[in-house]
C-alpha cells in the first residue's frame, strides 16, 4: 500500500487522466483496484458498497461492488449503467491524479468528451478475451482527435486467457496500427489482471514475459506538461483589473490564465487585435510580483503603455502571433440534441472570446469505424466531422494539434444556451 509522505506531497505534480471502456471490460474493478491500492477511497465509502455485509475492513477490490462506488446518481444505480462522468482522485508519493471515469456507451459520447478534453493521459480498457472491439476504436478515435498526449491500453482479464503472451501481442499490434493512422504520439499497451491486481500497482507472478512498467509506474512517469511550455506565449485576457481605489487610482491590470509559453518582465508584447505593442511592466500576484510566468498560471500583467486591450483580446509576443481568422475549419464532435446543419447559426466560445458563427459547410463526416470521410448534410449527436465556420468577428487561434487551449472552442446553441459542440481548429 502506498502511503502519503507529507513532506513529499507538497512537491507532487498533477496528472489528469481519463478512463474509457465498458463495465464488462473490468473498468470498475480496475478503478477500484487503483483507489484501494493508493488509498483513494475511504473505508466508510468502501464499506458502504461492499458485497457482503458485516465486514469490518475491506481487504480487496473483489469484495466491493465498485460500480456502486463510482455510479453516484440514483438513476445510474437503478439502471446499472454509467450515465455521466465521475471524477475520482488518488495520489502516490510522486503524483496526484484526477481521473475522469467516463461512460462507455455510445449515447454518452458527449460525456466522454467532457471527461477527456483536459486529460494528459487516457486508459483504454480492453477485455483480452474479446480483443479490439468497434467501441474500442470509437473511443480511441475520439481520444486521438482530442489530442490526448498519452494513450495507455490496459489489456485486462489476462488471467482468463492463461496470461498468454501471443493474445496480448495481437491486441497490441492491432492498436499500434490503428493509432499510427491517427497520429497518436505515445501508445503504451500493458497486459494486466485488475481483479488479481497483476500489473496494476504490483507486477504479480504471471506475466514475466512483459518487460514494461506496471500501470501505476507508467502513470507516475508520464511526462505531464506536454509541449505548452515550448509553444509561443498566449494570454487570453479574462478581465481588466481597475481597482480605482485611493491607493491604486490609475492601476490597470490584465488578468488571465496563460494558455501557453512564458512571459517575462520587460518582454515586448503585442495586443491582438489592436496590434498595439508595449512591454511588460509587472507580473502581479497576491504573493508578490514575479519575474517570469508560464502556462497554466493565472496571473495579472501590468504594461508600460496604455493600450487598447480588453476581455476577449489576447497578449502575445510580436512575431509569434496566432491566426486571426473569420473562416475556421475545425473538427467538431457534435453533442447537441438537434443536429448541426449548413447555414445554422451558433455562438462559438474560444478562450475568453465569444463570437457569432454560421456553418458554411460540412466538409465531411468521419466514419469512426472505418475512419473514412463521408459526405453529409448534417451532424447528429455523437457524430464527428470537419466543419467550416464563417465568423462575424475573428478568432485568434492556433491549430489544435499545436495548442489545445487556443485551438479549441465550444459551440453554443443561441436558443437553448446549451453547449452543443466541441470544436478543434484544423486550419484558420
Amino acid at each position: 500500500m502506498t502511503t502519503l509522505n507529507t513532506d513529499i506531497t507538497k512537491e507532487i505534480e498533477l496528472l489528469r487522466l481519463v478512463t474509457v471502456g465498458s463495465v464488462d471490460d473490468g473498468k470498475s474493478t480496475l478503478i477500484g483496484r487503483l483507489l484501494v491500492d493508493t488509498k483513494g477511497a475511504f473505508e466508510d465509502q468502501l464499506l458502504a458498497v461492499r458485497k457482503k455485509r458485516g465486514a469490518e475492513h475491506v481487504a480487496s477490490a473483489a469484495e466491493i461492488d465498485l460500480a456502486m462506488l463510482t455510479d453516484g446518481l440514483a438513476a445510474e444505480r437503478e439502471q446499472g449503467i454509467t450515465i455521466d462522468v465521475a471524477y475520482r482522485y488518488f495520489a502516490t508519493p510522486k503524483r496526484k491524479f484526477i481521473m475522469a471515469d467516463c461512460p462507455g456507451h455510445e449515447q454518452y459520447t458527449r460525456n466522454m468528451v467532457t471527461g477527456a478534453s483536459t486529460a494528459n493521459a487516457a486508459i483504454i480498457l480492453i477485455d483480452a478475451r474479446n480483443g479490439v472491439m468497434p467501441q474500442t476504436k470509437r473511443h480511441t478515435h475520439i481520444l486521438a482527435l482530442l489530442g490526448i498526449p498519452h494513450l495507455i491500453v490496459a489489456v485486462n482479464k489476462m488471467d482468463l486467457v492463461d496470461h498468454d503472451q501471443a493474445t496480448f501481442e495481437a491486441i497490441r499490434d492491432e492498436m499500434n496500427d490503428y493509432c499510427a493512422k491517427q497520429g497518436v504520439r505515445d501508445l503504451i499497451c500493458i497486459p494486466m489482471s485488475a481483479l488479481a491486481g497483476d500489473m496494476v500497482a504490483v507486477r504479480g507472478d504471471h506475466m514475466d514475459w512483459y518487460e514494461g512498467d506496471t500501470l501505476l509506474e507508467t502513470l507516475e512517469n508520464l511526462s505531464v506538461l506536454d509541449d505548452v511550455d515550448n509553444q509561443p506565449f498566449r494570454l487570453p485576457v479574462q478581465l481588466v483589473n481597475r481597482p480605482q481605489t485611493a491607493e491604486l487610482p490609475d492601476y490597470r491590470g490584465f488578468m488571465g490564465t496563460i494558455a501557453s509559453g512564458t512571459v517575462k518582465v520587460g518582454d515586448k508584447v503585442k495586443a491582438i487585435p489592436s496590434g498595439n505593442e508595449t512591454t511588460v511592466k509587472e507580473i502581479v500576484t497576491f504573493d508578490g510580483n514575479l519575474q517570469e510566468a508560464f502556462a497554466p498560471q493565472s496571473v495579472t500583467l501590468t504594461l508600460n503603455d496604455e493600450i487598447d486591450l480588453s476581455r476577449g483580446d489576447m497578449l502575445v509576443h510580436p512575431g509569434a502571433e496566432p491566426a486571426s481568422a473569420k473562416i475556421v475549419k475545425a473538427n467538431v464532435c457534435w453533442i447537441g440534441d438537434e443536429p448541426l446543419a449548413a447555414r445554422n447559426k451558433y455562438l462559438l466560445k474560444h478562450t475568453t472570446n465569444t463570437v457569432k458563427a454560421m456553418v458554411d459547410s460540412i466538409d465531411f463526416r468521419r466514419d469512426i469505424h472505418t475512419l473514412s470521410k463521408d459526405e453529409a448534410d448534417e451532424l447528429a449527436m455523437n457524430e464527428i466531422g470537419q466543419i467550416t465556420f464563417k465568423l462575424m468577428k475573428p478568432l485568434y487561434c492556433d491549430p489544435y494539434a499545436q495548442n489545445r487551449i487556443t485551438g479549441s472552442f465550444i459551440v453554443i446553441d443561441t436558443f437553448t444556451n446549451n453547449t452543443v459542440g466541441a470544436g478543434m481548429v484544423v486550419e484558420a
Binding site: L14, R88, Y89, R110, S223, L239, N417
Partner: protein
C-alpha cells in the same frame, strides 16, 4: 510507435497545488467576467476559507468584486460566528448573513423535526430565499467532488432552474477550460471552483498558505457527548436535549468538517497544529463526511441537491 516516452523535459513545472490554484482562479475570474451579479457562499468552514483565499488572490490588488453570503441556521458553533465576524472585518469583505427567520421563529430543530426537514428549511430554503432576494445569477460554493458520490458527478458550472433545482441527468458538457455561462432569465448557476481539490489538498494548501481557520479544527480537550458513533460537542443550552444515558465528558478532539452543532461530530485527535492535521489527514481511513449526520441515509445528498441544496 513504441512503449517509450518521447517528451522533452519541460523547464517549468507547477506543483499540483499550484496547478489547482491556477485552475480555481481561472474559474472565479470567468464567473465575474460573464455574470451580472455573483455572490460567494461562505460557510466559515475550511473549504470556504480556501475558496475565499483563492478569490482574494484572483483579484489582487483589487478588493473582492462580490459579497460573501452566509446562510446561517442559528445552530453554528459559537467559535464559527466569532471567526466569521473578525475575519471578514480584517479582510474588508462585504458579508451578508441571511437566516430563514420564519422557520427559526417556529423553533425548527433537528431533534424534534428530523435532520432532513431541519436542513431543508434552514439550509436549502434559507439559501434559495437569500439567492432570490439578492437576485444573484451565480453563486460560488466550496463543494468538492471527492466528498460524496453525487458530488463526484457535478460540473464546475452547475445549472439551476428557476426553482434552484439540479437536474443531474441533463448536465451541460464541460470542455477544456471553456465554461458556458449563458443562462435564461430566472436560471442561475452554482459554481464550484475547488471541485478538483481533495480533503488532503485543502489541508496542504491551508498549511502552505497560512490560511486562518476556525480553531475548532485543532485538537483540544473539549466537553463532548457520545451519540451512536459520533462525538458531539456539549453546550450548556443542550442540557434538556441529552438522550438517556448520555453524559458529557472531556475528550481530546477536533473537527474534520464543520456544520451545525447538533449534527456535526468531532473526532478523537491529538493534532494541535497544521503539520499534525496533515499527517492525520494522510493516515485517515474514513471520509470526513462520516461525521456529518446529514449524509447518512440513502441518496440523501443527491436528493437534497436536486431540491436546491449545495
Amino acid at each position: 510507435m513504441s512503449n517509450q516516452q518521447s517528451k522533452q523535459v519541460s523547464q517549468h513545472k507547477l506543483t499540483q497545488l499550484k496547478a489547482l490554484e491556477a485552475e480555481s482562479i481561472h474559474i472565479i475570474r470567468e464567473v465575474v467576467a460573464e455574470f451580472r451579479n455573483p455572490v460567494m457562499l461562505y460557510s466559515v468552514g475550511k473549504d470556504s476559507s480556501v475558496l475565499l483565499h483563492l478569490a482574494r488572490k484572483a483579484f489582487y490588488p483589487a478588493p473582492l468584486p462580490f459579497p460573501l453570503l452566509h446562510v446561517d441556521t442559528g445552530f453554528k458553533f459559537k467559535e464559527m460566528y466569532e471567526f466569521r465576524d473578525s475575519f471578514c472585518k480584517e479582510i474588508g469583505a462585504d458579508l451578508i448573513v441571511r437566516r430563514n427567520e420564519a422557520a427559526i421563529a417556529k423553533g425548527m430543530n433537528p431533534k424534534d423535526h428530523g435532520v432532513a426537514r431541519c436542513c431543508g428549511a434552514l439550509k436549502t430554503q434559507g439559501l434559495l430565499d437569500a439567492l432570490e432576494e439578492g437576485e444573484y445569477d451565480a453563486a460560488f460554493g466550496g463543494a468538492r467532488r471527492d466528498e460524496e458520490r453525487s458530488r463526484a458527478k457535478e460540473r464546475v458550472f452547475s445549472m439551476r432552474d428557476e426553482f434552484g433545482q439540479w437536474d443531474p441527468k441533463n448536465q451541460r458538457p464541460e470542455l477544456w477550460n471553456i465554461y458556458n455561462g449563458r443562462i435564461h432569465e430566472g436560471e442561475s448557476v452554482r459554481v464550484f471552483p475547488i471541485s478538483n481539490w481533495t480533503e488532503m489538498d485543502i489541508w496542504l494548501y491551508i498549511r502552505e498558505e497560512n490560511i486562518p481557520i476556525v480553531p475548532l479544527y485543532f485538537a483540544k480537550e473539549r466537553l463532548m457527548v457520545e451519540r451512536k458513533h459520533l462525538l458531539i460537542p456539549y453546550y450548556e443550552e443542550m442540557k434538556d436535549q441529552l438522550l438517556e444515558g448520555e453524559e458529557p465528558k472531556m475528550v481530546m478532539s477536533r473537527f474534520r468538517t464543520l456544520g451545525c452543532s447538533p449534527c456535526t461530530g468531532a473526532v478523537r485527535s491529538d493534532a494541535t497544529n497544521m503539520d499534525e492535521i496533515v499527517i492525520e489527514a494522510a493516515a485517515a481511513r474514513r471520509s470526513e463526511r462520516e461525521t456529518r449526520i446529514i449524509d447518512h441515509g440513502s441518496n440523501s445528498m443527491e436528493d437534497k441537491k436536486k431540491e436546491g441544496y449545495f
